[in-house]
Subunit: 491 residues, 2 copies
């Protein structure tokens, strides 16, 4: 059974201890972000002995003076005062706290001594405490943004624990920019009482979480972590970015959080054994987060590739082979469609090269045939999305050279292009539902980041370089294989 | 001596044979892009037997009917007519041609036979011919855009030969979007008479080219290619994206261009021996293109890292170690500055963790000390760029919650932020000039793609993920080491 952290992630009321009106202080950030996120104003109780009101809310001089016992205390007071605040919380009946305050074990022996004090207090009173030295907690579905970064997330089912506040904050910002739906976030900070394993365990049992991300630098109890991942990975993917791969990285991690990173090969083997999906970079973590939550798992390693031009097909094939995937054989169904729609010299093998064919009907028919083929476990579609953009632009440029083109004509061209793209994506979605195999798109016509997000609409996955899709598919397959080995998936 | 291709890349007049008014035809694209690129209208001679004028230019019924012999013919007629066109060009005194037309050896035996015909004609008349089946040629500095993609490049000193038209066109589009200065481009197409080696050789002797990019799928004469690269790499970096790394990729390449890819290990060893810098992905090629042209080469493997927060420092360290770089030792000069400006618990080792310090003076002073240190060969600065964005946004959000904020105040905040960033980048440039070591920035405050390009201004390199900077530096170092081994660089 995971520790119950419901009051941390779904508090019905919050005391902000150390809340401040001074804009550049954490006591201000936190409250401002909480308000901006839409948490009910009347359920927030700022505590500050020197102010009557903080950011428009009535303030209380102390925790003891609060009119009720809120579910959660978010603490931003100086380190030396935190112990006293927690004692006061316990007396007032507040059993859950997020300690944002820093200057604890991360700054040396004096701070470490203060932190041991927190552990004592927490254990004595049975408190549930996040931190200290944490970036905070988020629950997008609950409008809870008790966090130092000014983020507003698209609500979703991905939950994330980070042993680094800045890695956490940046990842949240990137998911925001990329339109990736997010549920819960916690910076585990110095992990005085709750550590990364506790959060993974909680997210594992959390019905609202379908995918778990973890950024780890070092773990005190490796066995406990692997046990937690092992029972969690059976239910949902656990994607881990673990730093300290190199000796130098381990030393840097030690200097950062004081944690012992441990030998990387041991971690690597243990992660594999436990069913975690390990990634190498923050960007890969984001790509995988998107893909796991939007696409069905591939059921095998036979990849189909459709490409608008040969070169990218070759590069995608290379990437797939390096990642351990095989090229699917083309069956008669696919051959028949290609023979009918493509010129006689078509590639006659996978990748299927559309040699610049711009007719959407051709793209749709070949995508359908490949998705339906029992030879194909997953599909990558290179360049179909946005097909016609370059030709359209050529036509536009030519018309502009000859006569002044109207803004309306420009607009209608791009609207039509958008409609074509949406049609392709909608059909892919139907095919994924029908055949339970992932279809990944790679857009290569420079339609722009903003348009990409518009097309993805939080539902499909569009890459901008062909090499990435293969790597991501291989990692998804690895997870599927783990489930099969584990007996969770029969198919 | 490289073959003289000046008339291909710097023609003073061009015949467009097969020029067309029909917007979706290559004969239209090519002419439109040439006009849009600013090539002098009066120096273009469209040839089309059925039209009096093409896109507003007077048309001629045949090559023989041209009023003069242009430097270059760009041919878009059907495949069967190309041989005749080249014969006619030779008679009219046109000695250089770019054959865009496809349906040659890439479509089977009939096409291959036509292509052998072109080779005969070319050899017999001593013609210099690019293609057939090429995307075209570009020379941004010459306003020459005889190419199928509607691109307008930022003029620069990078030249690129691609054995795939679609890889070429996409790379050009990306350089355009990323503000990377570009000089010459050629799609080598079916390489009937001129192959990738010829273009690399020409770019190698070209005074306007400082860096050469090559996308290769297969090479007939591997020895000739390696000899060309070997003599070229002594003068300027040659960055190679070679597909067919895997057996499957080789087969796909064969099916695409009919070229034999060859065993990858042999290529890999030969590239290293010849001094080429091999990359794994198209994105890495772009990053390296930017870095080679904007930054000094690192003179050793000792990397200094400055980070706004610990976690990214650890990830960057890992990436550096995996790429074969070492962490630089901090000398007394750096320690003295850090002791003075950072809290007593600062990391005391590399990476130097600024623990969220937002004062630009601190960032500048530590960057200066690290750049000046004889222990440091290269510097990666994580998070300094854009420092204050998050805090500023927090302040903005807080002010908006309390009172309506004026657009002017918003604007002035972002203007000030831009000034801070520009100051940091300008100082980095001075330091690179003074100490001849590269400084790479990683921006992690989500200031947006457009703002990034504005800040780079074609002069500095800003990454958006810390892992990339280390990989790129390692490849730059590999080239530097090649020069040292080769005796070209004494230092």
């Amino acid at each position: 059974m995971a520790k119950n952290l419901d009051k941390i992630f779904k508090p019905e009321s919050i005391a902000m201890v150390g809340a401040s009106n001074v804009p550049a202080k954490w006591g201000s950030f936190l409250l401002v972000n909480l308000l901006a996120g839409g948490y009910p104003r009347e359920r927030i109780f700022p505590v500050n002995p020197r102010e009557k009101a903080i950011h428009g809310l009535p303030a209380y001089p102390s925790v003891s003076a609060l009119p009720e016992a809120p579910d959660l205390a978010v603490v931003t007071t100086p380190a030396a005062a935190v112990g006293g605040v927690l004692e006061e919380c316990a007396r007032r009946g507040i059993r859950n706290a997020v300690v944002i305050s820093s200057n604890f074990s991360e700054v040396g022996e004096e701070g470490a001594s203060l932190e041991r004090g927190l552990v004592d207090i927490g254990r004595r009173h049975g408190l549930t405490v996040v931190g200290p030295n944490t970036m905070g907690v988020v629950n997008a579905g609950h409008r809870l943004y008790a966090v130092g970064a000014p983020v507003q997330l698209r609500p979703g089912t991905i939950s994330f624990v980070s042993q680094s506040g800045n890695v956490g904050a940046n990842m949240l910002g990137w998911t925001m920019n990329q339109g990736i739906g997010f549920g819960k976030f916690v910076g585990s900070g110095n992990e005085a009482l709750l550590d990364a394993s506790d959060f993974i365990d909680y997210f594992g049992e959390d019905e609202e979480t379908s995918l778990i991300l973890a950024y780890l630098e070092g773990v005190e109890d490796g066995r406990a972590l692997m046990e937690v991942i092992s029972r969690t990975a059976r239910r949902k993917p656990v994607v881990v970015l673990k730093s300290g791969r190199s000796e130098e990285g381990s030393r840097a991690a030690m200097s950062h959080t004081g944690s012992l990173a441990g030998r990387d090969e041991i971690y690597d083997a243990a992660f594999t054994q436990a069913g975690a999906v390990r990634v190498d970079t923050s960007q890969e973590m984001l790509d995988l987060a998107k893909s796991f939550t939007r696409l069905p798992l591939p059921s095998g390693d036979r990849l189909g590739i459709i490409t608008l031009g040969g070169g990218w097909g070759v590069l995608a094939t290379d990437a797939a082979a390096m990642a351990g995937l095989r090229l699917a054989k083309l069956d008669d169904g696919v051959r028949e469609v290609c023979d009918r729609l493509l010129p006689p010299y078509w590639s006659h093998s996978n990748p299927v090269d559309l040699v610049g064919n711009i007719y959407m009907e051709t793209h749709l028919a070949i995508m359908e045939a490949m998705a339906a083929s029992p030879q194909v476990d997953a599909l990558v579609v290179l360049g179909s999305l946005g097909t016609g953009t370059i030709i359209g632009l050529n036509v536009l440029v030519s018309q502009q050279l000859i006569m002044e083109m109207s803004m309306d004509a420009m607009k209608s061209f791009f609207m039509e292009l958008r409609e074509r793209n949406l049609r392709l994506l909608a059909r892919a979605k139907e095919l994924m539902n029908a055949y339970h195999k992932p279809i990944l798109f790679v857009e290569m016509q420079f339609i722009g980041e903003e348009n990409l997000r518009d097309l993805e609409a939080g539902e499909t996955v569009i890459f901008t370089a062909p090499e990435k899709a293969a790597t991501i598919l291989a990692k998804m397959l690895r997870y599927r294989r783990y489930l099969e080995r584990d007996g969770t998936t029969k198919q």
